[in-house]
Subunit: 343 residues, 2 copies
DNA sequence: CTGAAAGCGCTAACAG
DNA sequence: CTGTTAGCGCTTTCAG
């Protein structure tokens, strides 16, 4: 069997309490015994048993992250940020990835199990009243990433502003007939971006032709956030009589924009010549394709969220904080810029 | 405080042993008490304490995955596969992501901590003798993904064959002056792909001009597996006198190929007109760019590796198994095909 | 500065 | 079918 503090205690001729103290850097241990214990410990190859520590300490040094993997790139970047911060404070990360949004609740349940993790990061998941209740009832330190609820700490980006800026960018480039490629109505970021877009149209006093607003009805389990959904939605726009077609399109997500680009290409349209396109997210492929889009500081969101979580784990009873990042427009070729940067 | 089996025992007027039995689906419990216990349990909102179970059972129901994140896409796909399999058998996943290869050992140490996880998946990490010793000494069930060592179960793809097929594809398309974009010599997959390539040249009786073999000396902490490294390496090839330049290039990784594409474009070359390109990996961007490349069954590798791990956790003393997948050539536009499929 | 002893919450013989 | 009783390995009073 593997070695325990009892073995060390025996060999070092001290009590297990002392061994424990040594490993927990308790101040009042004589230098002599400290050394002796350490020496014996690594002669024997001792390593503390995580579960036993967790049980006795009533904490696990583990943080869990529940994430729908729809947007794998987004998640990976956030994960990077989380890891960085977690490594610093010696916490481990339990990942509960859900392939689709409806599987999130199952993963949530597992992540919430008593004695599994000390805190939880929940990403890109709409907080319904029922989820909010469950989460509150669990009394687990929690930080929301890319979704919002007043009762919990959150780190989000300003989707309304992003939607508005997207349309403004297109209006500024002289477009009036601007198409909108939307995900399902259930998508909160989708709704916000649409709100923003609407707002920009109003400001500019431009009418938004309802024909040009297409809601993705495909891949609904992904809320329409797929290439295919974007592809089909774009085809629908392209099926309009030539004079009624949009001259530019704002797709609510890069994946959709990429599908749209494809549809445009197949229809023989040149981008940006015949059609300009703006996306949202700045996923990895976007730089290659030269897609104009909005960048979110994903890594930073991950580290900040983790930072907040660690703080909340320390001080559970502070007011929830809400950080909103501004999406940054990245202009590339699909809205007529000359060159793509080698990101 | 949260509710324990003692509370339930008290309320249900049974012993804690019975409560435990009920929750562990022990056969010999009367239906009546079973029901009573369950009823009381969820009246009280009981939930077993994971750490306590782990300590008593001597297992955690947790599997850890140690992964360098250099290739985030590859990792995400493998992760998907792992999650799928893990969900089925109710295991949780501890992720130890390392930003660079030299941080892998640190993460390994954490993943190996006693009482943290019952088994470990280790991805894309060269197994040096010293690592092999540590891993063997830990006696932890282990499966290697995308790397090989005779002592441990492994799931890999046949890089030698991939390298050979890449060159064969190019030779078959009539190229003789084929450039090779390689990562650092430390990279095992890189070496294998090169070996394969060499082999293909020999078979075809074509000489490989040493000038056309470029080793990426940039981004060494990533073993040269970056866009930038590919970009610079390609520039080096393009700096050759026109008559000595390659007419086709095999890049050992898609990220490098993408960088190479960029360099070619900047140099005013058209692809595939002036230069054909083959990559390796089939990352997400490749489909958009139309890059001809080799696809690895990443999700499948993840599930299989997990399957093997779970088996080894059950039967620790079986011979290590080694599964080798064949990379599949995906022909796209960079080697002259007409259309890209909308994957 | 150090030891004894009582948990942490659950599992698993061993009796009955 | 059910209860009693040791642990699992570590932390943490409470004494000394």
């Amino acid at each position: 069997m593997s070695v325990t503090i009892y073995d060390i205690a025996e060999h070092a001729r001290v009590s297990i309490a002392t061994v424990s103290r040594v490993f927990n850097e308790h101040p009042r241990v004589s230098e002599a015994t400290r050394r002796r214990v350490f020496r014996v410990a690594d002669e024997l190859g001792y390593e503390p048993h995580a579960s036993a520590q967790s049980l006795a300490r009533k904490n696990t040094q583990i943080v869990s992250a529940v994430v729908p993997m729809m947007t794998s790139f987004f998640f990976m970047e956030v994960l990077r940020g989380m890891q960085d911060r977690l490594d610093e404070s010696d916490h481990d990360l339990l990942v509960y990835a859900a392939r689709t949004l409806d599987r999130v609740d199952g993963q949530l349940a597992r992540a919430l199990q008593r004695g599994r993790a000390d805190g939880m990061l929940l990403a890109s998941t709409p907080i319904t009243p029922s989820r909010a209740r469950r989460l509150a009832a669990s009394r687990r330190p929690l930080v929301l990433v890319d979704s919002y609820h007043e009762d919990f700490d959150s780190v989000t980006i300003d989707n309304v502003r992003g939607g508005a800026d997207a349309v403004r960018h297109l209006l500024a480039r002289g477009h009036e007939r601007i198409g909108l490629l939307l995900p399902l109505a259930e998508s909160v970021p989708g709704r916000d971006r649409l709100d923003g877009a609407r707002q920009a149209f109003r400001e500019a006093d431009v009418d938004l032709d309802p024909q040009l607003v297409v809601r993705a009805e495909w891949d609904t389990e992904m809320h329409g956030f797929t290439r295919y959904a974007g592809y089909r939605a774009m085809q629908q726009l392209l099926a309009l009589p030539a004079s009624e077609r949009p001259t530019a399109v704002f797709a609510c997500a890069d994946v959709m924009a990429l599908g749209a680009l494809r549809a445009a290409r197949e229809a023989g349209l040149s981008v940006p010549g015949d059609l300009e396109v703006v996306g949202f997210d700045d996923i990895e492929s976007s730089a290659y394709v030269g897609l104009t889009t909005f960048r979110q500081p994903m890594v930073e969101m991950g580290t900040l969220a983790t930072e907040l979580l660690l703080r909340r784990m320390r001080e559970p009873d502070t007011e929830p904080s809400h950080t909103v990042f501004a999406p940054r427009l990245v202009v590339r070729e699909t809205t007529g810029a000359a060159t793509t940067a080698l990101a």
